[in-house]
Assembly symmetry: C2
Homo-oligomer: 394 residues x 2
């Protein structure tokens, strides 16, 4: 009897943070500041329940059977219209539907990465993106876009693509400024690298007006054929449980991604796609947005006020103007934030350590705190617990 065939090597490179988070879920009265979850109060439960029943009854052919690999024509059309501007005329051929925003990252890896090729990634980088690309074993050139010394063109040279979250980046909560967006587009032209604009938080501006997307900034007035691969999702605008995301890009890229999707899950749920199509075409997503922005703004303010009161001795941070996260650095370089996560758990609060957002897994100087999931009182109590943990580690 022979030993079983071994697993692929990339599986040895994963971290165990998910296991830690899952185990944390078992701790009674834990305050979870680690995840990136929208508030349950924000879901339009009654409306989605009615839509779900209606679309199966009214559109059984679209919702229940096999449907086209790149998505239902109706949803692709709704999204093409939603993102079109006078200078950015989009059609169905620029749009493909994915199983949540997460799948878009996997498909981009399949289409653009030979094993060992290079990605220029905004640093720190979204954990889910690192997970998605790990099986294709890429190398990373980090880009600290806010650092004036960051040489974007050098980072993007010989890279297959650059990966950015320009609006309230996960984990840093940072807004990539218009000048930096321009520099990314110029570097894409100069180097030939594609430019992935991952935008799950693009509607979540709490102060000021939304900046133009790099997709819009690279529009020419003609059918879109630029370097930007734009990613959107219903997860923050309606409900993540639907698993509906989308990619907007040049038709050549949409065609290649469609081949990759065919071999990944063939197509996304027609039922969920049709709910999304109706929610956008009938205005549900836009109708619920103002109340959700108010809810999240109050929670951000509550978290930051509690941090000002309890954590300024230990941490530095900037109040984000949108999104779901505050990113903070420890002042005392002797404190490892991997250790802080463990000590925090003993005090009943869970945070995300910076190591999981570093492709090398080395950075132990930062933490990410989520403010959308919990009510203000819980956020304040979570911050108090974190302050206790930090004071013990002095």
């Amino acid at each position: 009897m022979a030993p079983r065939a071994p697993m692929a090597n990339w599986l040895n490179d994963t971290n165990d943070v998910t296991a830690v988070f899952l185990a944390a879920g078992q701790i009674p009265n834990l305050i979870n500041l680690a995840g990136g979850l929208p508030a349950p109060d924000a879901w339009p439960v009654t409306e989605i329940s009615e839509l779900a029943g209606d679309v199966v009854r009214d559109y059984p052919a679209e919702t229940l059977t096999y449907s086209p690999v790149p998505g239902l024509p109706k949803l692709r059309d709704v999204l093409a219209e939603r993102y079109s501007t006078p200078t950015l005329p989009l059609t169905r051929d620029n749009v493909m539907i994915t199983t949540g925003g997460a799948q878009a990252l996997d498909l981009i890896g399949k289409v653009l990465l030979e094993p060992g090729q290079k990605i220029a990634a905004q640093s720190p980088a979204y954990l889910g993106a690192l997970d998605a690309w790990r099986p294709r074993t890429p190398v990373y050139a980090p880009m600290q876009l806010e650092d004036p010394a960051c040489d974007i063109t050098a980072a993007m040279s010989d890279a297959q693509f650059a990966y950015t979250v320009p609006n309230f980046s996960n984990p840093s909560g940072r807004l990539v400024l218009v000048e930096q967006r321009k520099a990314l587009l110029a570097a894409a032209q100069e180097t030939g690298a594609w430019l992935v604009e991952d935008d799950p938080y693009g509607k979540l501006y709490y102060d000021g007006n939304p900046l133009p997307t790099m997709l819009e900034m690279s529009a020419t007035g003609k059918a879109y054929d630029g370097p930007v691969i734009y990613l959107g999702t219903v997860s923050k605008e309606l409900a993540p449980g639907l698993r509906v995301g989308w990619i907007i890009a040049a038709p050549e890229m949409i065609s290649a991604l469609t081949v990759a999707k065919q071999g990944s899950d063939m197509f996304s749920s027609g039922l969920c796609q049709m709910i999304a199509a109706r929610a956008y075409s009938e205005g549900l997503a836009d109708r619920i947005l103002p109340a959700n922005l108010d809810l999240y703004r109050r929670r951000r303010d509550a978290l930051c006020a509690a941090m000002d009161e309890h954590l300024s001795e230990f941490l530095t941070w900037e109040k984000p103007s949108g999104g779901m996260f505050v990113w903070a650095r420890v002042k005392n370089p002797a404190i490892s934030t991997d250790a802080l996560m463990q000590v925090g758990l003993e005090h009943g609060v869970c945070i995300s350590p910076s190591s999981v957002f570093d492709p090398e897994g080395l950075d132990q100087s930062g933490i990410r705190l989520n403010f959308t999931l919990n009510e203000p009182e819980k956020l304040t109590e979570g911050v108090r617990r974190l302050a206790k943990a930090l004071s013990e580690m002095r």
Copy 2:
């Protein structure tokens, strides 16, 4: 301005059959015998519509938010119970949920295949599986299981896994006999290769009683830890548009697949998972099965009767005892079935040529005909058109 970074090499190896099929969809009055679609008459539209509305209203936390990577505990438990026998005691740890059966194939590739490694595959092989593994650039050892000269152990030596569809294989419609199933299990023990048992058609027996699955045959009475990776789906039992499939395997394999799923689409739609959980736990799937078996049996009989009348001059085939397909070989070796597909389209009938089920794309001697989608009259007319096409190619 630099040329755009190139796409990954594997994209050059895809065939254009999907494009041909899509274009065929535009031909008026075309009779489509090419796909693998269940009959629309078979969907329980009213029941799924009610379930869809109910589960969002009653379980918003499970259906609308992020849920566990390996699936909702409720659905994993329902499936563990459904597949358990006295000698095969399964728990949630043996079960993971996938986005349709198709995703299971992609995840298996990610977990088991380094670039260039070997798969022993039942021949001819399911097109969707070849699509799923193409980005990991495997090599194939074909297994013609029904051929007494087939050396299964040799094919599986140094292979990472064997891939089989034992019940009414796609495309051949063949049933893998119990002796052949035993031989596959013995070879898995001897070589260490994993054994993928893809079973979308396992309920679709029209004559006789279902054979034991290799999962059952490798049970020991203890917690399952064998070499079989069993794949199931709601696509043929309820509705493919839900995109709910599952994997049953050793916990070690489920854990590795969960890491791969996290980087693929993070989790499958909670809404669709909860519909499936309710449809199985409340008996909906079992309730609709007898009528669907009657429907499909009549259609198989109609197709085979028409073939007897019009095609025996040109083709040889065996009447399948289940599933969705009849597999036929042309008698005249001068006729290429790639050409037959094109000539058929001119006559208003679409068939699948054998080349798309061959990892090398070479076999041009066979065709696959689907009998579940169309009514008997249409099946008969489709066969008449195919006979005309064949008579022109003499």
